[in-house]
């Protein structure tokens, strides 16, 4: 068998023997740098934008417009039975780590002299009998969650722009930007935020943003057996929550702080903060 003759690739003669091109000076170099960076700028500005347009078209909630909604939450404390279904549903829906709560239920035992508040495991397993060392004259449950304030202390203190309020009235945390400094955890007067031990970023109630933007109710509202928790849209004229805010005597938690909460409470006791 005859082997084909092996030879090195031939370098074209004209390149090797070409005379050096003119203009290899500083000026030429700077001009080239400018041209290159200009091209890179065009690439950076145009490239990702085109890519984003394609990606968002495929995702769910494309038909959703946040300016058409203004959400509000209503809690009727006189109806709550302290079953903890909401806390369990929230944990299942949002994969909340054990021992941390995006929503929880508190029990108040109030007497003329003193008040006792308990919330065993956030009320996740329900409530048992309670003994207090004073004469309790009334007792009731109060579900708590992020108040989605309009004048939020938590967003104000965020140093990296991770916390923000959407146009439909939901306070969210961008886990990609959050650096886990926990300023917002300290700033929230309602204790609604925590640092996740898994992601080391701030987490909080989102009113189940992945549900409400699809027309569903938050998981806690979905499972509440007594109608204690209600979720509504203030931009719908006949919304039950809107009607309650318009016509009933409602309260908000820690109104003196002027955080302008979007969670409203019916039959709120003065002891509740």
């Amino acid at each position: 068998m005859e082997k084909p003759p092996r030879s090195l690739p031939v370098v074209p003669d004209e390149h090797a023997s070409a005379p050096p091109e003119p203009g290899h000076g500083r000026r030429e170099f700077l001009a080239n740098v400018l041209r290159l960076s200009g091209g890179a700028l065009v690439f950076l500005a145009g490239g990702p934008a085109a890519e984003a347009g394609g990606a968002s078209g495929k995702e769910a909630g494309e038909a959703y417009h946040w300016d058409e909604h203004s959400y509000a939450y209503l809690v009727d404390t006189s109806k709550c039975i302290g079953c903890g279904s909401c806390v369990r549903a929230c944990a299942a829906e949002n994969q909340v780590p054990d021992g941390f709560f995006r929503t929880w239920v508190e029990r108040y035992v109030v007497g003329m002299e003193r008040t006792h508040v308990d919330s065993p495991n956030g009320g996740k397993d329900g409530f048992g009998p309670i003994q207090v060392d004073f004469v309790g004259t009334k007792s009731f449950f109060v579900p708590k969650l992020c108040n989605h304030c309009r004048a939020t202390p938590c967003i104000q203190v965020c140093p990296v722009g991770a916390s923000y309020r959407t146009h439909d009235g939901v306070v969210l945390v961008d886990a990609e930007r959050c650096i886990g400094c926990a300023y917002c955890v300290q700033a929230c007067p309602y204790g609604s935020r925590f640092l996740s031990p898994l992601t080391h970023t701030a987490e909080k109630c989102t009113w189940c943003y992945h549900r409400i933007t699809k027309g569903l109710r938050p998981a806690c509202v979905e499972v509440c057996p007594t109608g204690t928790r209600q979720f509504g849209d203030l931009k719908r004229p006949n919304d039950p929550v809107r009607l309650a805010i318009e016509h009933d005597r409602i309260g908000v938690l820690q109104a003196h702080l002027r955080t302008e909460p979007n969670c409203y409470y019916l039959h709120l006791d003065k002891e509740v903060r």
Partner: protein, 154 residues
């Protein structure tokens, strides 16, 4: 003309610095940051699609379990969602369509969460002190022995 060359050099240098700054900004500042405020707007879309909703509501359960749904709607548990006792829909019907049978707590513990008499519950809500509710020894008695959870009124 000799002096003009110095000016040109400085202007060129400034332009290079500006170009590098713009280039660095393009890399460092997220694309949608500042569209509506000092935050990344893309995160709004991300939060919308963060995961599949786990709770589907009684209407979803009704499609395969019409008998239980009818009984529930006729009884006093008509406002109690299936998922309160049975757990979230997503744990039962997986994303690929496969079905996992959820475990249901059939003990007194499940019913006690709502119906055990404890301080704090509204006076009008049906609550039970087990010792007063059943005659004889309490041990071994389960609520489901007498009550149908989908329509518990006897």
């Amino acid at each position: 003309m000799e002096h003009a060359r110095h000016v040109v050099r400085v202007v060129l240098l400034v332009m290079v610095v500006l170009a590098v700054a713009f280039l660095a900004r393009g890399f460092l500042v997220p694309r949608s940051y500042g569209m509506y405020g000092p935050y990344r707007y893309d995160n709004v879309r991300e939060q919308m699609n963060v995961r599949r909703p786990a709770h589907a509501g009684p209407a979803a359960c009704e499609q395969c379990h019409p008998d239980e749904a009818t009984a529930r709607k006729a009884g006093v548990h008509r406002n109690v969602s299936c998922e309160v006792c049975h757990g979230p829909f997503a744990a039962h019907v997986k994303e690929d369509g496969s079905v996992v049978t959820p475990t249901v707590d059939r003990s007194y513990t499940l019913c006690a969460r709502c119906h055990r008499k404890v301080d704090g519950r509204p006076a009008g809500f049906p609550q039970v002190v087990l010792e007063e509710h059943v005659s004889g020894p309490v041990e071994g008695k389960v609520c489901l022995g007498c009550h149908n959870p989908h329509s518990p009124k006897l």
